[in-house]
């Protein structure tokens, strides 16, 4: 399942998890110890962050570690590039919908 990174970031606990993951890889247990919420709740937040592409997980079971996935944050240039591809394709489709001046 895909989650919009903007939705993933719209939660204060998830934003805090990301700041804790800056520069270090942490296990669910280590992350949970930093917050006054239950481990299952932290696991749910981590799942959302993974599905949004903002974090990656490595390893299995209790050795599961999470790191930030920088590719989840698009550079401005790329963001704008993608935007115009979509926008111009939609503009072209709309131009075909409307009756042409010759019609």
């Amino acid at each position: 399942m895909q989650v919009d990174p903007l939705d993933a970031l719209g939660n204060p606990v998830r934003r805090k998890i990301l700041t804790h993951l800056r520069g270090s890889s942490l296990s669910v247990k280590e992350i949970a110890a930093l917050f006054p919420v239950s481990r299952p709740a932290i696991s749910r937040h981590l799942r959302v962050l993974s599905q949004s592409g903002l974090v990656e997980s490595h390893g299995r079971g209790a050795r599961h570690h999470y790191t930030i996935n920088l590719k989840g944050f698009t550079p401005v240039r790329e963001f704008i590039d993608d935007f115009w591809d979509t926008a111009l394709a939609r503009l072209e489709a709309l131009s075909k919908e409307k009756p042409s001046s010759k019609a």
């Binding site: 934003r15 700041t19 550079p75 704008i80 935007f83 939609r90 042409s100």
Partner: protein
């Protein structure tokens, strides 16, 4: 600089109107800061470029810098950066036979040049500081 173009089967003035007065119909739903798919986007020849959401929110997306139908439109663009660090969009409408080539040139400006290769923050200001710290380490 980013350069993109599309050939539309209509006259330059029709293409200009399609781009401006009918912007709500083509502006990608994924790039509406309000996240309201039925929001109305407005480009005012007098200067404002904004989004009006159904819930009453009115969000500035940029500013119209030059409105010169049917040839040229220039915008300051806030998405991906911010109102005090805009990027610049130039849209040219050039006839090609019976059709019109719409070309978009999107550039950074001196105030946004340092952001061009930076990772996109998000539109919401509250996230700015977190993202800033994430991208700067």
């Amino acid at each position: 600089m980013i350069q993109k173009s599309v050939l539309l089967r209509c006259s330059p003035i029709e293409a200009f109107h399609l781009f401006t007065t009918r912007i709500s119909e083509w502006w990608p739903l994924t790039h509406r800061p309000s996240k309201d798919p039925h929001s109305e986007l407005v480009l005012e020849a007098s200067g404002r470029f904004h989004e009006r959401a159904a819930d009453g929110r009115d969000i500035d997306l940029g500013r119209v810098v030059e409105w010169d139908p049917p040839r040229r439109l220039m915008l300051d663009f806030y998405m991906g950066t911010s109102a005090d660090q805009p990027t610049a969009v130039e849209i040219l409408f050039v006839p090609e036979g019976e059709a019109t080539r719409v070309t978009v040139y999107h550039r950074s400006k001196p105030e946004s040049a340092h952001l061009w290769t930076r990772r996109v923050g998000v539109f919401e200001n509250s996230w700015q500081s977190v993202l800033q710290s994430l991208v700067n380490w």
